[in-house]
Amino acid sequence: MPAVSKGDGMRGLAVFISDIRNCKSKEAEIKRINKELANIRSKFKGDKALDGYSKKKYVCKLLFIFLLGHDIDFGHMEAVNLLSSNKYTEKQIGYLFISVLVNSNSELIRLINNAIKNDLSSRNPTFMCLALHCIANVGSREMAEAFASEIPRILVAGDTMDSVKQSAALCLLRLYKTSPDLVLMGEWTSRVVHLLNDQHMGVVTAAISLITCLSQKNPDEFKTCVSLAVSRLSRIVSSASTDLQDYTYYFVPAPWLSCKLLRLLQCYPPPEDGAVKGRLVECLETILNKAQEPPKSKKVQHSNAKNAILFEAISLIIHYDSEPNLLVRACNQLGQFLQHRETNLRYLALESMCTLASSEFSHEAVKTHIETVINALKTERDVSVRQRAADLLYAMCDRSNAKQIVAEMLSYLETADYSIREEMVLKVAILAEKYAVDYSWYVDTILNLIRIAGDYVSEEVWYRVIQIVINRDDVQGYAAKTVFEALQAPACHENMVKVGGYILGEFGNLIAGDPRSSPLVQFNLLHSKFHLCSVPTRALLLSAYIKFINLFPETKATIQEVLRCDSQIRNSDVELQQRAVEYLKLSSIASTDVLATVLEEMPPFPERESSILAKLKKKKGPGAVSVPDLEDGKREGGELNGGGERGPDSAAMSASNASTPSPSADLLGMRSAAPMSAAPTSAGSLLVDVFSEAGPAAPSAAVNDDGFLRFVCKNNGVLFENQLLQIGIKSEYRQNLGRMYLFYGNKTSVQFASFTTTVSCPGELQSHILSILRLNVQTKPVEPVVEGGAQIQQVLNIECLTDFSEAPLLNIKFRYGGALQNLSLKLPVTINKFFQPTEMTSHDFFQRWKQLSQPQQEAQKIFKANHSMDTEVLKAKLLGLGTALLDDVDPNPENYVCAGVIQTKGQQVGCLLRLEPNGQAQMYRLTLRCSKDSVSLRLCELLAQQF
């Protein structure tokens, strides 16, 4: 039966489509379209009123033209007119046009909404469905405002037809996603949950999407759905393949609904009720058993539907992560799929195993498949499968197999597809660092990486190797020797030259004893690469040369000669020229002592999270880089990095800033930290008064100050974390200046849109503290979008003008899947951050103590201990406070005495502190005396909550 005879063939439309198809060229097509547009326009503008059929035909033609990719700027009104036609097909075309084109023409929205309203109240199910489809398709805020309260009513009304219920459920879901604030929970919510029991499978299928989304946002309110979902699932799983009639798909009963049910259960922890849990475990076991049964059909649809359920069940098992039995069975099942002849299944098995690898119960079981996975990496024809294999190797890597995996990945890199090389490089770099037991292996690996895939080695990777070499003195000699050898190659990658230049400049002396790598040989080797390099690398090499002059006085003449030649000292690049001139001058006038001080070896880098990880997170969704794995990496990375609590040594830092005339490649952002000490002059241009931006308006979100108190005695850590967002903080203070780095991590796989942050200082603080908000564009351009799994950084420069007690507020707004998130946090900027420790003798202390004897200068509190009273813990806290902890001052050795000066711009406030613990009573007495009474009070308040 020819299909179109069923439809209401619009002859004119068919002719037009044929004409377009017969056009021989794009020009001919455009000409034909313009002719048609002119025709339609004249019809619409004509005096003669068009009948419904013609209107429908022309609107449909316009729609066709639009879908071909041409702009349409008229016809909307005619389409809206069609909506109120009482002929179904006219109405239908009108709605289709609106659904496809409406967001470009929203001034008609009122008219459209009116038509929708009429259809919704028409009680004609077909019309109601059309209207609901339209709302779901457009899903605009205006529509949500108009219908968000109406649709739940339709959904749960007793007399609503099933098909309308289905449309209403999904329509409501759409509105909830765009405007969650407009969809109010109410009496209908409990009735929605019970749709899981509905007799009509179609209704359950539609409703469960809505329920899943609502449960994710309001888990407690929808808790009852767990047991309902389990019993529904159990009925489906145990039904015979024919029981469900048309809901059986290629002998698989209700595969879509089963997957949805399993997905819904993943919004919750395992059921607490033993009976429910037993029933669920039974279901999961049945699903796993069915995978072993012979297929009921040879059709791929059968196995796809069956395996879809199986994979969803495995996801649930992984989500629960509490049934070792099921986990291992899941792992074995996936292991079978790894060798399946269906590419799709191999792909999915590799993908699911990545998540299994992070569970402690199944990590070992996953590892047994290492050979198969390596083989997949080598032999799969399809690059997407190879990529999954690489992801899995990364996920299953641990100390026991790191060397093997890294070696395999390196050898794969030689032939890897261009599209995935950069990511592979990052992964190798991370694994090498994370599992390095000996650092020579680490250095070898990274240099190999540069050799094999130099173009794909991003700055983060080679910065990191330098950072690690500088922090580990046991590897420096080896590194120098290895880069020296690597540079011997006739053609070596520019990144190798960078690493080589940096490392020889710092540690060339460690291999200078060998005549084969004498200073001059080293220099000549480096300089032979110079002319092939880009400007930033040359700049770095010039810095290496001046360091050579310091390390090896015998090279001075040669290097000065090089610096003096026209191609350096008159180089057209201003940076190179300046370096050449300055270094030449420095080397000629400075005494060896001065030179040695200025060009001293780089101090160890402060411990920080590997920037490579951040980069990988940004590149990949969290799917591939499992989060616990990353956390682990951070920890171990730190360990390798020198470990311990080595705060940034600011004195050394400023010295190094002078000494290493910041290699134009800004190593790990050290340069951006420099102005800290460099002082207010340069800060001036960066300072932006927050008040002009944020205004004093009170943020609407409730202020979250949970994290705040934890930061009184420390500067780094996680300030805030929920399911979507993690905010980490690093801060440094010097005198009355501070700098705070805020790290916003998107924990979801969905991007945050319209991401904005504002910092405001409430009340009295406004006149006191200037928080300076600046986005660090150099290292990470902060866009209003934070991609899923990515982290962005924001820098806050803080200047304390005078003492204060209210903390600044950070307000964060963003859209997550259409829902506006609003968050206010107290930033942990407290007055004690601006302490300078003051050492003094017992005599001085008591003299000062007596001087501060006016009653208002003293603040005292007696309070119960909330934390451990352990001496070391207390000492650490008092030191973290920023004051000097004075020994042998207080006659009672149990007591603690501290002294410090708070630096504000206007004045200095001297503070003395005495803390008297009483172990027996688990009490403290805290006394503060400060030269300014408000400071005593505030400090006392803050500290009383710390011990």
């Binding site: 039966m1 020819p2 299909a3 179109v4 005879s5 209401d8 063939g9 002859r11 068919a14 198809r21 449909c60 879908l67 002929k87 179904y88 097909t89 239908q92 289709l96 077909t126 489809h133 779901a136 398709n137 899903g139 605009s140 098909s163 289905q166 449309s167 999904l170 329509c171 759409r174 499978m201 179609g202 299928t205 539609a206 999407s209 048309d246 798909y249 595969p255 879509w256 609904l257 997957c259 649809q301 796809n304 879809a308 994979f311 969803e312 799709n344 999915l348 024809r381 399809d382 997407s384 499968v385 990529q387 969704g621 799917g623 796989s749 991007q751 991609e787 899923g788 799994g789 259409g818």
Partner: protein, 163 residues
């Protein structure tokens, strides 16, 4: 949820586009370009899944047409593949041996059928009978009946024949 569904020919000609979240015309054009180049470049007998930005792209070829469905990251690929197949079956049932030309000449019907099957990127009804019943019912509501404007030529391959 599903984010969008595209149908395009082997030559990269777009035959149907359905967007389940609001998007600017510019974004749409970029996605269409990305999808067609990416999918058309795939070797035969590769797997049907791709990662694209934070989405999973599921595609399958039926005769001369590619069906390309983007889903969110935590969604199930295999079941999405069967969403495509079920849609092809629905088209086939309605048109009777559906081919690319049916979709070109009756694009509005292809949209209507899709609306009965999926709403807002979620499945509304999986039963073939139920979907067809609603489509047939709406066809019944029509007043004008015209003769067909084209019939299949032998050059057109039926989509479902490769099913």
């Amino acid at each position: 949820m599903m984010r969008f569904l595209l149908l395009f020919s082997r030559q990269g000609k777009l035959r149907l586009q359905k967007w389940f979240t609001p998007m600017s015309e510019r974004e749409k054009k970029k996605i269409i370009r990305d999808m067609t180049t990416m999918v058309l470049a795939r070797q035969p007998r590769s797997c049907n899944f791709l990662h694209w930005k934070d989405l999973k792209v599921i595609y399958k070829r039926y005769a001369s047409l590619y069906f390309c469905l983007a889903i969110e990251n935590q969604e199930n690929e295999l079941i999405a593949l069967e969403v495509i197949h079920r849609y092809v079956e629905l088209l086939d049932k309605y048109f009777g041996n559906v081919c690319e030309l049916d979709i070109i000449f009756n694009f509005e019907k292809a949209y209507f059928i899709l609306d009965e099957f999926l709403i807002g990127g979620e499945i509304q009804e999986t039963s073939k009978q139920m979907v067809n019943r609603s489509i047939e019912a709406s066809d019944m509501l029509q007043e004008v009946r015209c003769a067909g404007t084209h019939s299949h030529t032998q050059h057109e391959t039926w989509l479902a024949s490769v099913v």
